[in-house]
Amino acid sequence: MTATGHQASLTHLQRLEAEAIHILREVAAEADKPVMLYSVGKDSAVMLHLAVKAFWPSRPPFPLLHVDTTWKFRAMYEMRERMARELGFDLIVHRNPDALEKGINPFDHGSALHTDIWKTEGLKQALDLHGFDAAFGGARRDEEKSRAKERIFSFRSAQHRWDPKNQRPELWRIYNTRKNPGESIRVFPISNWTELDVWQYIHLENIPIVPLYFSDVRPVVDRDGTLIMVDDDRMPLRPGETPMMKSVRFRTLGCYPLTGAVESTAATLPDIIQEMLLTTTSERQGRMIDHDQAASMEKKKQEGYF
């Protein structure tokens, strides 16, 4: 985001970009072993782009970590490989070996257990295994009401627990990155971005995103009012169920059996933004894991979910 012409003050996106880059550099300068969590979604795409900018012409001084569940959309795996290659990042893929061995999946084990074992446990394993002391995440405060309460530098105990009632003061642009033995930090450089900011930035900066965000005719089944895409043949169809071809897209990406599609014809970024601005439901509604119980995100985070 360079200033256009002679400009007396910065636009909101320039301020947000500058803040995110400042945070990325602060961690690079002070953490022993940082890592960037890469989920392949749009927020990750923005984080990756910011990381390239923050350290250019150097390569970002940390690897990418993808905590894989083996159930992501195929297009996400393709994107992951492409981005790591093109941007020159080291990519670490972690799959929880226990989950792999037990064949944990959303159909037989339910969304809660699936997410807990693959994502929450998988993430803790990966961080412990590599000894990462600071991990960047692409969470935003506008996503959910307990996220809105979280600091940019958010501390986790040795058991990866978040204690929302005991957060460190965080003043100005000064971040206290000192931690006790065993503690680690989750750092959220785009905390203050909204969904609209993310889309507009992707638009202005031409950031590559997974094509699933754009509408296309895709095979879907209707599961209790949610459109689920049949992305591969592991998806068990119910008796008499046949996939319908519908023009759909995704507002958020995760494990394909747990991510609802919306019917849409939005095929360009302005179309997507227009649709988002006119919509009446929130982005997280497409995620099945948040509905499980009230205050579920706060509880998950206390247990070590990002």
Binding site: L16, A29, K145, A148, L171, Q200, L278, T279
Partner: protein
């Protein structure tokens, strides 16, 4: 998120163009408990259509379950996002929420009113350009209203709105509004708060929030939202001289050496002459990068990477500044400190101070005064407790580049970190540097440590005995000294009881005095070791932090901590001086082990278990360890 703008539906590209250039205002809501801060934010989000259907449905069901409005919508629940907050109906930590109008984007920090959570309010206020101070019309100006107004002013927020809320509960009485405004005006005058705007409001009903609603016409001022849209954004930084704290040195290869950071003030162009502080070296800007682009100019608020002419030594923590208006450098300041930790601020205790991108060791003098936020009286204080605000002198172990906080949040605001717990324990705002530090320079002496050591035949060092009263420290230290002396070493024994009769006779046994006691002894021991002596220090020295300070004064390896480990029961049973009996009888206050804590060393060089070793054997052990482990060569 159905924005009002019709352009969204008709011409999205045009809408995006307009949205792209919107400015950003950060503000906070503050005031006393239950004045309606969270309700106001919930209402603002609702009125600016930031609430989706699924969120609204959740809000309605939450309102019935845990709401405070008898089943009607409780807007605070949109913002109070933690389970504990919803259960108790109060805000505990700051929430950051976002909304935009056709004119501007907003980030609002909804802060807690409870005094207990003041540090979270300060967190929210530190990044705000504007503040909305709420008052419950039925209760008027309260202590917390004053505390928050005072903090808003301390943190340098210049645009302030006074929202007299819950007017629906006082029948929109103009007299009530006028009385409250008058009382607040008088307080604002006393703290030097600049002009503020007052409005009567009902956050719950949304009157005077986004729309006038049923607000009566005796009030002619703006609605809250129109005031927020018009408040100037904090961009006066651009007009000031260039400053940038260096965050990170960018060295991809031998041909590129860039200095990355966020421009704190001014602007920067290729060719600009710069001065590096504290070193004072000068250079010129070669290129300015924003991200991957080489640009002609960058402004305050942007993250940049600069390359400079020539090879000069610059590292993280240095400040680059316009060479015709360089920043000041000092190692002693006067500052206002807001204390944010349960453990009190103790004068003399070493903390870490982080200012800009530099972290240094620092200590704080006894507060000059503490402020009673209600009356603004200056009170005498020996320490600062949680949520107290005081004016103190700070000294840093090395000079740092700074500006007064009134001129720069980035170069005048600092945090204090406890070295043991790593918590952020305080926040400070620099007033000015103290003259003596700007003028007094360290005198470099020709006869140095090495020269003195050569003459003595060994290096000086400190052997620090710590343990409970009556644990046997003095007995053992005394024997060790005799043995070393017999071996021809130059020694000196500093004993707690003796030093308390002279150098430290003004000190008692409170936590503050214990810290100062050890600080002085550590400094004296350091001077003696510098002079070439082996200094044996025998002090209870109950706190880890002060022993760490003593260690930090000495070169690595020249500080030997000896933990004389005698269990309390054993020391008390011996009670050589009869002190434990007195302490138990309540005749001696603050006695270590009884009503004052002893923090045992975690990794002492030597630990002596006095229940297993005789004093003679212990002394032999220490002496042998030293002769074996320590390198006596010079």
């Amino acid at each position: 998120m159905a924005h009002q703008s019709d352009l969204i539906a008709t011409d999205i590209e045009a809408y995006l163009k307009a949205h792209e250039t919107k400015s950003l205002l950060r503000f906070l809501t503050c005031g006393s408990v239950d004045d309606g801060k969270s309700t106001l934010i919930g209402r603002l989000l609702y009125d600016s259509k930031m609430i989706f259907e699924d969120q609204l449905a959740a809000l309605e069901s939450d309102s019935r379950r845990v709401g405070t409005q008898g089943g009607e919508i409780d807007f605070a629940l949109l913002v109070d996002g933690l389970a504990a907050e919803r259960e108790q109906g109060i805000t505990i930590d700051v929430a950051y929420r976002f909304f935009s109008t056709d004119r501007r984007k907003f980030i609002v920090a909804d802060t807690p009113g409870h005094e207990q959570y003041t540090r979270n309010m300060v967190t929210g206020a530190s990044t705000a350009d504007a503040a909305v101070i709420l008052i419950d019309a039925r209760r008027g100006v309260l202590t917390q209203t004053r505390r928050h107004a005072y903090l808003v002013h301390l943190l340098g927020i210049r645009h302030v709105m006074l929202a007299v809320n819950k007017m629906d509960l006082v029948d929109w009485s103009q007299a009530v509004f006028d009385d409250i405004t008058a009382e607040f005006t008088s307080f604002a005058g006393k703290i030097g708060l600049p002009a503020f705007t007052a409005i009567p409001m009902s956050a719950l009903r949304g009157d005077n929030v986004a729309e006038r609603g049923s607000a009566p016409d005796w009030h002619e001022g703006p609605t809250l939202l129109s005031w927020l849209e018009a408040a100037p954004v904090g961009d006066d930084a651009v007009a000031r001289p260039f400053r940038m704290p260096v965050q990170w040195v960018n060295r991809p290869n031998l041909d590129f050496r860039g200095f990355s950071g966020l421009v704190a003030a001014g602007s920067v162009r290729p060719g600009d002459p710069l001065r590096v502080s504290p070193s004072g070296r000068e250079s010129r800007v070669r290129q300015v990068f924003v991200g991957t682009e080489d640009v002609p100019e960058a402004l305050a608020g942007q993250s940049v990477t600069l390359t400079l002419e020539g090879e000069i030594d610059i590292s993280r923590g240095d400040v680059l500044a316009a060479s015709d208006a360089p920043v000041s450098v000092a190692d002693q300041f006067e500052a206002t400190v807001v204390w944010m930790d349960e453990a009190p601020m103790l004068p003399g205790r070493p903390y870490l101070l982080k200012l800009g991108t530099r972290t240094v060791a620092a200590s704080i003098t006894e507060p000059k005064h503490r402020v009673n936020v209600n009356t603004l009286e200056h009170l005498a204080a020996k320490r600062l407790d949680l949520n107290e605000i005081g004016v103190c002198n700070i000294s840093t172990e090395m000079p740092v580049a700074f500006e007064p906080y009134a001129e720069s949040r980035d170069l005048g605001g600092f945090i204090l970190i406890d070295r043991m717990s790593n918590r952020t324990v305080g926040a400070g705002m620099i007033h000015f540097a103290l003259r003596r530090s700007q003028n007094v320079h360290w005198q470099a002496l020709d006869v140095d440590r090495a020269a003195r050591a050569t003459l003595k035949g060994h290096r000086g060092r400190v052997i620090w005995f710590t343990g409970l009263s009556g644990s046997g420290k003095s007995t053992i230290a005394n024997m060790v000294e005799k043995k070393l002396h017999a071996m021809g070493r130059h020694t000196y024994l500093l004993d707690g009881d003796n030093v308390r009769h002279g150098l430290n006779r003004d000190l008692g046994f409170t936590d503050e005095d214990r810290v100062e006691n050890i600080r002085r002894v550590a400094e004296v021991a350091k001077l003696m070791a510098d002079a070439g002596l082996i200094v044996l220090v025998s002090f209870i020295s109950p706190f880890r932090a002060e022993r760490a300070l003593a260690r930090s004064l000495m070169p690595e390896g020249d500080f030997v901590e000896v933990f004389v480990d005698t269990p309390l029961a054993v020391a008390e049973a011996r009670d050589v001086k009869g002190l434990y009996a007195k302490a138990r009888a309540g005749e001696l206050k603050n006695f270590t082990g009884i009503d004052s804590p002893y923090e045992a060393p975690e990794t002492p060089e030597i630990r002596i278990d006095t229940t297993a070793l005789s004093p003679e054997a212990a002394a032999e052990h220490v002496t042998a360890w030293m002769e074996g482990e320590l390198d006596y060569t010079i």
